[in-house]
Amino acid sequence: MIDKRTSLTDAIAPIPDGARIALGGNTLHRGPGAAVHELVRQGKRGLEIVKTAGAYDVDLLCAAGCVAAVSAGFVGYETPFGMAPAYRRAVESGVVEAREHACATVIAGLRAAIQGVPFMPVAGLHGSDLPAQRGFHSLRDPYSGTEVFVIPALMPDVAIVHVQEADREGNGRIVGTRFEDVLMAQAARRVILTAERIVDGALFAAEPDTVAIPGFLTAAVVAAPRGAWPFSCTPDYDYDADYLAAWVMAARDPDASRQFIAERVFAPVAAVAVG
């Protein structure tokens, strides 16, 4: 089988400016932290970020000027650290477009892409300003005559997912919650896995139910120990509360956030990885 292992640099390099990138994980958990840092270091521009509920990933990429649009249902650090200051500032100043979704409509858009159909009907959205704001159409059901909102397909150019274990062929094992990672991997044109550990894939044959990402969907696999950091990665490590608190403080100010990024994201990867 094909050995899909590569370096983080080489995995991220082919992503063009303007790409639509789906990021795995949810709020503070199992986001692809190392890959997000590499996007920043490589100076990607004009990205559209797809996520149900984002936090540091969206916030940092906005601060670093990588982002043109965010298609997400929620961006914030939940109760521990509150709102995402750089994302806020970028949207409030008109630099970044908030393509606001309900989390369920991100899922619907991914499902349409996965199923090769142009739109996906969804229950709900009634009484919300979102459909008008986002241009989500409704259709009349030809069977019952009821109106239903339909969400256009949302096909990421790239999905980046951090998993606990992967083999060289790109099978990815997720321990615990999968979030929308499997949907993202199915919907995307190209899948990049970063993994805490590269393991012998023969081990997966004993428990294939735990292998969320089948290798044939994967384009590149990167060995990335602590690769979710500063997100949590069950059961290996929790989110880095000190780091995130420092970032959120810095992110409130453009100069401070630039300095933070220069010192802590552009710093040698080894130094970052020990957190």
Binding site: N26, T27, V75, T79
Partner: protein
């Protein structure tokens, strides 16, 4: 037992929210939801042992060893016997099988509609808010929506939302000052928490409400409720929402 005068707002809210849940119901909370997390576990340990507790981790009836500040935290997976996905949970609500969803709003209007999107103009907002997460889908599809909000002031309970993020099946709204119930599409004051004067509640609410000396008082947390609350949430995670 602590004296009524010492009722802490997070305790009162958690208890008031827990009491709204009935055994046998299927209950969901999303991100950034410490109070619902605590309230659900409290209800499950008190009067509603057969609640089905769902959250974004995909765990069913998890029994966390410690309560996390993040309500998507892997700590909430402990003890689950199956793993579903957030998509599965939205689907459950979409097909009318989710009994209760806990949701919140930075702005809430007199119809119980919420704004979690933007303050000011939508395109160039004064404040870009986090977004409604699942609200726009859950609020019209869950059988009952319980809103909670730790701030009760006229900037929160407004006559007119800057943007309607979601609208739907709101049943109750729990705040530090009292409980609203939604009847015929409008929020009405159901009860004031102990020590909250009617005029304080009225002035804190940006839309018109009927409240006066005859308005009911929320029963204060009982000794049993408080004891179980302390046992479930020894670190005061519920209080973190007031930070």
């Amino acid at each position: 037992m602590e004296s009524p005068g010492s009722i802490l707002p997070w305790d009162m809210m958690a208890v008031a929210m827990a009491r709204l849940l009935k055994s046998g119901e299927t209950v969901f909370h999303g991100v950034a939801s410490p109070l619902p997390m605590v309230a659900i576990l409290l209800a499950k340990h008190l009067h509603a042992p057969e609640l089905t507790y769902l959250n974004i981790t995909g765990a069913i009836d998890a029994a966390p060893l410690r309560l996390p500040l993040s309500t998507v935290d892997p700590a909430l997976l402990r003890g689950t016997r199956s793993l579903v996905t957030l998509a599965d949970l939205f689907d459950l609500s979409a097909r009318g099988r989710l009994d209760v969803a806990f949701l919140s709003g930075v702005q809430i209007d007199g119809e119980g509609r919420i704004n979690l999107s933007a303050i000011g103009s939508y395109e160039r907002p004064t404040v870009r808010l986090p977004g409604g997460a699942g609200s726009a889908m859950l609020m019209p599809t869950a059988r009952r929506v319980i809103l909670w909000r730790t701030r009760h002031d006229p900037r929160t309970f407004v006559d007119r939302l800057d943007f309607v993020t979601a609208s739907g099946n709101v049943d109750r709204v729990v705040t530090p000052l009292g409980v609203f119930v939604r009847i015929d599409g409008r929020l009405h004051v159901e009860s004031l928490h102990t020590g909250v004067a009617p005029e304080v509640f009225r002035e804190a609410t940006g839309f018109a409400v009927e409240v006066g000396p005859d308005t009911a008082v929320t029963p204060p947390p009982s000794a049993a409720e408080l004891a179980m609350l302390r046992a479930i949430d020894p670190d005061g995670v519920a209080r973190s929402e007031f930070a």
